[in-house]
Structure formats: structure tokens, C-alpha cells
Amino acid sequence: MADTITQVSSSIDALMQEFYVITHNLANASTVGYKRVANAFSRALEAQGAFADTYSPGTIELNSAFDFSQGGIVETGRPLDLALHGKGFFVVEAPEGPLYTRNGMFQTNRNGQIVTSDGRIVACEAGPITVPQDVGISELTVSGDGSVSSRGTALGKLRLVDFKENENKLLAVGASCFRMPDQDVVPAAAEHIVIKQGYQESSNVKIVDELVDMVMVSRLYEANMKLLSAQKEASSSIMGVAMG
């Protein structure tokens, strides 16, 4: 009996965590370049439920992985809104090491360098790109491979990297950025990627899917709670018999 209670409570913990993940995804339904956190606990639990003999929620591993699938591409017309289509990331320079992002809503800072909206410099193949004083942002052209030019003069090339099979090792640090905790993993230059100027990559959260998952989590949570209360009643009646 104690066994059942342990299993039910670990299952409840996992469901709560999945619920947090879903609320976080929903909160970021409009965040440019956001990648949803996939947490398949409830689905795995439901699949197990089909074989009542092996029902054992305690054995399902709790984890969350980023779903790096492509988000929608939305036109904005702003010259420094850059959407990535394909696998890869922009590289952002930060004091603690490079960060990786797919939020391409860039700006120029007071020195004319291309920066993220947090003011961090966007890394390029050779030093940061500085937009000359006499060039307006509207005159900037960013080609599909990341080359930035104005009025036919090349200014530099944005650095795009791909982690390939190591992508799932990335850690999210907030502010639309990821970092690579594993020092040994060196990203390769991205190959299968196109930059679209004047577009944004919208969040890849699908509201309907998240809502369906949310309903499933709520129901499974309820079911587990029912099981817990049935256990409580059973144990109190046994205790009643024993104590006379």
C-alpha cells in the first residue's frame, strides 16, 4: 500500500512539473524565436495506462527537452528583423561566453554596431559589424547567407552556427538565449539555413496542442488524487477493523 502511495505521489509531482512547463510555453506563445519545451510525461503515462499490470508511473523518467522545430515566418518589413529558416543559431557575444539565439530582432547601438534588443553584440565572421554613420538602417541588405551590405558595399557576415546532434545539450538562460554547458562541444558553421530579412520567426508553441496537454495533465492529476483518497479510505477502514 505504501508502494502505491509513493508511486502516485511521484506521478503527481511529475504532472505538476509538466503543468509548469505548459504554462511557460503558453506564456511564450508570442515570443519571437522561442522554442517550446517538450515534456511528454502525461503522454507516456497514458500509454502505460493501457496495460494495467505494468502501470508504474514511478519508472517514467522526468525530463524536458527543447523542441527546436521551425517556427512560423512572419513578415514585419523592418530591415533588422531577421528570421532563421533551417537549423542553426545566431551567436551573441556575452561576458560569460557566447550565447545562441533565434530571436533576430536586432538593432544598432549608438556606435552603429548590430546588437540584440538587450544591447549584446551579434557576432560576425570577422569582428562586429559597424554600420557607417552615413548609412541608414533602411539601406542595409542582409542576404540569405548572412552577408550584410549597404549600397553594394559589403560590411561583414553574421555568424551562424549549428550544434547538429548536440543541440539537446543546450541550456536556456532566458532572454531568448541558449548556452552550451559542455566545453567540448564546438558548434559547426550552419549549412542548411537561410536568413530572411524583414521577417521574424514566431514562437513554435501551438496553443491547441498545449491546451490539449493541459487538459490531459489536469485529468490525470485528478485521477491520481482520487487514487490517493481511495487509499486513504481503505487504510482507515483496515485500521478500524484492526483496532476493533
Binding site: 505538476m16 512539473q17 503543468f19 509548469y20 512547463v21 505548459i22 504554462t23 511557460h24 503558453l26 506564456a27 511564450n28 506563445a29 508570442s30 515570443t31 519571437v32 519545451v37 523518467e61 522526468l62 525530463n63 524536458s64 527537452a65 514585419t76 518589413g77 523592418r78 530571436n103 530582432m105 538593432q107 544598432t108 547601438n109 549608438r110 556606435n111 552603429g112 534588443s117 538587450d118 554600420v131 554613420q133 552615413d134 548609412v135 541608414g136 533602411s138 539601406e139 539537446n168 543546450l170 541550456l171 536556456a172 532566458g174 532572454a175 531568448s176 554547458p181 496553443i207 498545449e210 491546451l211 493541459m214 495533465v217 492529476y221 485528478e222 488524487m225 490517493l228 483518497s229 486513504k232
Partner: protein, 260 residues
């Protein structure tokens, strides 16, 4: 459970801010020289319960970790300086800047503001002013006996006197900024320089990448009504979804309370 509530609340707050930005864009659909704003959201920090690649058993590492995010925040609003449509008004003192650049306006306290609203007027002292009555910088006086005023593509203000002879009384100058999105909006179609925008560079219209001056035209707002309305619907639905998450969390808490 408290975490789910606060996460969903950040989502609702963010969507509400998006609605505020859209409302301001829509309200300025017909404001001369208005530039729409777009909001940039960022995800909040993650609580790292388990790093990816940690050893779960000897020689076996987990392929992914367990990270739980804490919602969203509005990181910034970015003013989008794409050009608005030009509208013919037939008024010789209406000017539009076709390209990059801002007009300089001197405020009563001596500070300089910047605008793309070129509906100029002549005040009682014969000076060129904005519709609100602020002077252009550098100030340009029009002689009281002028028969007509004509502003050239290069910003030269030409005055024809009653005898028919033309003289130049001044030149409009334009400025540009390294980061125009960093300018702060001051109302009255005016923008102010900030630490983020960088210092202004002055120039003559039509030179060094500055736009030229088009008279008898005004630059309309660059707000696209359909885009804004679509964004409005998206924001409204996302707001609703986040409130559903709070409701679901509440129901789960109630279930838990009924057991105890």
C-alpha cells in the same frame, strides 16, 4: 502550483502590454510621420533541476535535462522606421522626407527635438514652425511681403517677392542617428535623443544617404491596419489561453484540497 500561477500571470501581463502597443499604433493610424512600435518578448530565466548529460547510471547520461521556465517578459518596444505612404496635399509648406532623416525642432527651453512630420506653417513673426508652433532649427524667416514660398528637393527655401525675383532665405537640414529605434517619443510627433540613439549627424537633404525633400506631400503613418488587427486577435487569444492555465491550476489545487 504558485509557480504556474505566476508564470501564467507573466503571460497575461505581456499580452496586455502587446494590446496596449497595438492600441497606440491603431490610434495613430492617421498621424503624420508616425512610426509604429513593435514589442519584443523574451522568455524569463529557467530553473535548472537537472542538467542535460548528467550521469543517471554508470556510463549512461541523460539525453536531456529538466529545465522549468518562469514565463515571459516584454524586453523592449522597437520603433519601426520604415517609410509611410506619401499623400499629396497640394499645400506648398507640407514637406515629406523621402528617405532617411529627421527635421530638427527647437523647443522653448532650448533643447532640440526631432520629427518626420513636415506640415510646416508660418507664424506671426514670419518664421517656419511646426503645427504646434515650435521653431525649426536652424530657424528660417520668411519675409512678410513674400508672394510664394517653395522648398526645393535639397531643402533650400526659395521665396518669390511681389516683383517676381527669387531669393534663398535658408536651407532645411536633416539629421540621422546610429540607432533611430533608441529615440524616445515625446508626444506631439516629436522624438528626443537618448544615450541609446547615439549622437545626431547633420546633413543636407539628398546628400550622403539623407532623403530628399518632397513638397506638397505629407508622410502618412506606417501603421498597417490589417497587420495590427491580426496581432490584436492573436494577443487577445493568447491572453485568454493564459487565463485558462490559471483556471486549470486552480481546479488542480481544489482537487488536492478535497483529499485532505
Amino acid at each position: 502550483m504558485l509557480r504556474a500561477f505566476s508564470t501564467a500571470a507573466t503571460g497575461m501581463a505581456a499580452q496586455q502590454m502587446m494590446v496596449d502597443v497595438i492600441a497606440n499604433n491603431l490610434a495613430n493610424l492617421n498621424t503624420t510621420g508616425f512610426k509604429r512600435s513593435q514589442i519584443n518578448f523574451q522568455d524569463l530565466i529557467y530553473v535548472n533541476m537537472q542538467e542535460p548529460g548528467t550521469e543517471v547510471a554508470s556510463g549512461i547520461t541523460s539525453p536531456s535535462g529538466l529545465e522549468i521556465g518562469s514565463g515571459v517578459r516584454a524586453a523592449s518596444t522597437i520603433k519601426v522606421f520604415t517609410w509611410g505612404e506619401l499623400q499629396n496635399t497640394g499645400r506648398p509648406l507640407d514637406i515629406a522626407i523621402t528617405g532617411d532623416g529627421f527635421l530638427q525642432i527647437s523647443m522653448p527651453d532650448g533643447t532640440i527635438r526631432y520629427t518626420r512630420d513636415g506640415s510646416l506653417q508660418i507664424n506671426g513673426n514670419g518664421q517656419l514652425v511646426t503645427t504646434t508652433g515650435y521653431y525649426l532649427e536652424p530657424s528660417i524667416s520668411i519675409p512678410t511681403d513674400a508672394a510664394s514660398v517653395d522648398i526645393g528637393k535639397d531643402g533650400g527655401v526659395n521665396v518669390t517677392d511681389p516683383a517676381g525675383s527669387v531669393s534663398v532665405v535658408g536651407t532645411l537640414q536633416l539629421v540621422r542617428f546610429p540607432n533611430p529605434s533608441g529615440l524616445s517619443s515625446e508626444g506631439d510627433n516629436l522624438l528626443a535623443e537618448t544615450e541609446a540613439s547615439g549622437p545626431p549627424t547633420t546633413g543636407t537633404p539628398g546628400e550622403n544617404g539623407f532623403g530628399s525633400i518632397q513638397t506638397s506631400f505629407l508622410e502618412k503613418s506606417n501603421v498597417q491596419m490589417i497587420t495590427e488587427l491580426v496581432n490584436l486577435i492573436t494577443a487577445q487569444r493568447a491572453y485568454e489561453t493564459n487565463s485558462r492555465a490559471i483556471k486549470a491550476g486552480d481546479d488542480m489545487l481544489r482537487t488536492a484540497n478535497q483529499i485532505a
